[in-house]
């Protein structure tokens, strides 16, 4: 093992981890506001990837430009799904039931995508997808750098929206205590619907980057959702900062272990860290204990 390989692993981890963090942010936002564990998040990421792919292949639209179309589209998909299924979940079993309902939604979308696009693997292509540039002897792939910048911008925008706007205050109030938020006049139902839409809309850029760096079909969503759930559990369910840190930590740790030890231990090492963290902090790195109890 040389230092160059280690530096490369850290860079790969940070760049790739930020995109995973972006995808996981939607998941944790939805849980934080609505107490919904959305196991369909993986298939929405793949839906975002397929939308970018279709725009690129059929209309020649650059995947990044295509986000102008795919983000609002997925926001609307999220609103429809929330109104049709998620918003109807009530009572103390709501969180548990949400797993079953969103799993069913995931299967419906998976079947539909298989029918439309077939099960053959595809990848989003653009001139810069396979290109890279070199700094101090280290190659940086354009697509990962663009993905990192995109993730940073969107996570920054999400932060501004949450902490600098009136609507963001409503979301944070709902995150803290839904009953109290309703008592002070916040329309928690409306906030929940929009949050679900935002949570799904975020999968559009995440899916686009994922689809440009991996070949995928609808079934790829299973691998994704297990990763995303792991990230938000480690970061703390409902914590946006936690998702960001855990996403980067997960991929970076795996990459470092893969380089200095062996790739076979990379996944195990992350889960080992997860178990250790949860045994000390059951609510995750940045989660609130009440959020896990809810």
């Amino acid at each position: 093992m040389n230092s160059s390989a280690l530096i490369h692993a850290v860079i790969d981890g940070v760049l790739t981890g930020s995109v995973y963090a972006l995808m996981a942010t939607g998941l944790t936002l939805i849980f934080g506001v609505m107490d919904i564990i959305n196991v369909a998040q993986g298939i929405f990421v793949i839906l975002g990837a397929y939308l970018s792919y279709a725009l690129s292949v059929h209309w020649g639209i650059d995947p990044f430009v295509g986000l102008v179309i795919t983000i609002p589209t997925l926001f609307l998909v999220g609103i429809v799904v929330e109104r049709a299924f998620i918003g109807r979940l009530k009572g103390p079993e709501k969180t548990a039931m949400s797993i079953l309902v969103t799993y069913a939604i995931s299967l419906v979308f998976e079947g539909s995508l298989n029918m439309i696009f077939s099960v053959n693997y595809v990848q989003i292509q653009a001139s810069y997808v396979n290109q890279s540039f070199r700094i101090f002897g280290v190659y940086f792939a354009y697509i990962y750098v663009y993905g990192f910048i995109l993730a940073a911008v969107l996570l920054g925008a999400l932060y501004v929206m949450l902490y600098r706007t009136r609507f963001g205050a409503s979301i944070r109030a709902s995150l803290a205590d839904q009953t109290a938020a309703a008592l002070v006049g916040i329309d928690v139902k409306r906030v929940s619907t929009i949050c679900f839409g935002i949570g799904i809309a975020i999968t559009a850029p995440g899916g686009m980057i994922f689809g440009a760096t991996n070949t995928f079909n609808a079934s790829t969503s299973y691998d994704l959702i297990s990763r995303l759930l792991t990230i938000i559990v480690l970061g703390g369910m409902g914590s946006l900062g936690g998702a960001l840190l855990a996403g980067i930590l997960m991929v970076t740790l795996e990459d470092i272990v893969g380089v200095i030890w062996s790739p076979i231990w990379s996944t195990i090492s992350f889960f080992l860290v997860l178990v250790i963290v949860l045994s000390v902090r059951p609510q995750g790195l940045f989660g609130k204990r009440s959020a896990r109890i809810a």
Partner: protein
Amino acid sequence: MNRKGKLFRTFGVTSVAAATAMMMATASGASSTTLAKGAPVTIGVSLSLSGDFSADGLAYAQGYKLWAADVNAAGGLLGHKVVLDIVSDASSPTQVVTNYQKLISVDHANLTFGPFSTLLTLPAAQTVNRYGYAMIEGAGGGPSVFQAGLKNVFDVTLPVAYDLKPFATWLTSLPASSRPKTISYVTSNDPFTQPVVQEAQKLIGSSVKTVYNKVFPAEATDYTSIADAVAAAKAQVVVLGSVDVPTVSAFMQAFEQAHYTPQAFIATAGPDQGAAFIKAVGAGNADGMMVPNSWYGQSKNPASMKMVAEYVKKYGGTAAGVNADIAEAYSVGQVMAAAVTATGGFDNAKIISYLHSGVTLSSVQGSVKFDALGENTAQTAYTFQWQGPKFVEVNPVGDPGAVKILFPKPAWGM
């Protein structure tokens, strides 16, 4: 014997009798060895129509259906129309067990065909073995399947351990002056890929210096750092143990981003997926990529040419783009048909005995002859390579169908 002992004895005898009765009922209800005139013969199959192996699962379904359509067009199996009962296992080794239990005990399938992958074939074969069924399959060539001591499993494809032998022979027989000096081995910890790569390492030995040799988890979704580490080793040859297109594609993309082009790059699976591979990686990038296999779409075997023509007519595309899974699945059907015809019925015990008799059969992939373990010993391993839009045989060197190998591999995207 005291009262308690009698009670236990009575209970024990009753339990054994009940269990025996249930097993007999299950066995008798599972399938008939003779079918009423005009009754269809049902063949139960579990395939991965979703999950990690879905692309291969779909191709297998197409291959099985193509064979069934041909058989039915010719009057069926012993005059009985073939009905395929295909259920999805979602690429799960647990679900595949449930599926075959259901196919036999509930759906009363008369015969069974294998699922996709070594990972799923082993539990599937063990399950149908409990019911006395033959498991003829085309994608369970990993050693773990044959080492399980099953007498009912028959793999119509060449055992995977021999897959890279022609490649290794070609590499080590190159003159020292032109032979690559360094090699990287990287493989998924899958029961199909690891034995192939390990066997290649054994065959190549010290003829080419190993500079990287690592195993990565089968459940990996992000290959960037692994591929970057392989690229950093800068070996002239890369042997990749892959099970699917995404794995190969990820390594190819990372290599291109790292401006690293090995002189020879062979992957155990992925490039054999025909048009599906080209669609995923782009035609320019596929040039020079190699894969071991025992069949290809432009094979001159007359039965293969007929099958390929039918496939292209039905699904479109070109001969070069036909997935090798199609031929594997079709061969399974051909071997089963030959066994049924030879034994004159659908008795699985007779079919198993017949296939173990040392008889040599024909398939679209070539000859089929099973040893005691159920391995096909009559087939030849080939190495195939993408050369422009063509998928061609490049070794064994000297084979009548082989063309000159494209070596060194062209740069990415050329």
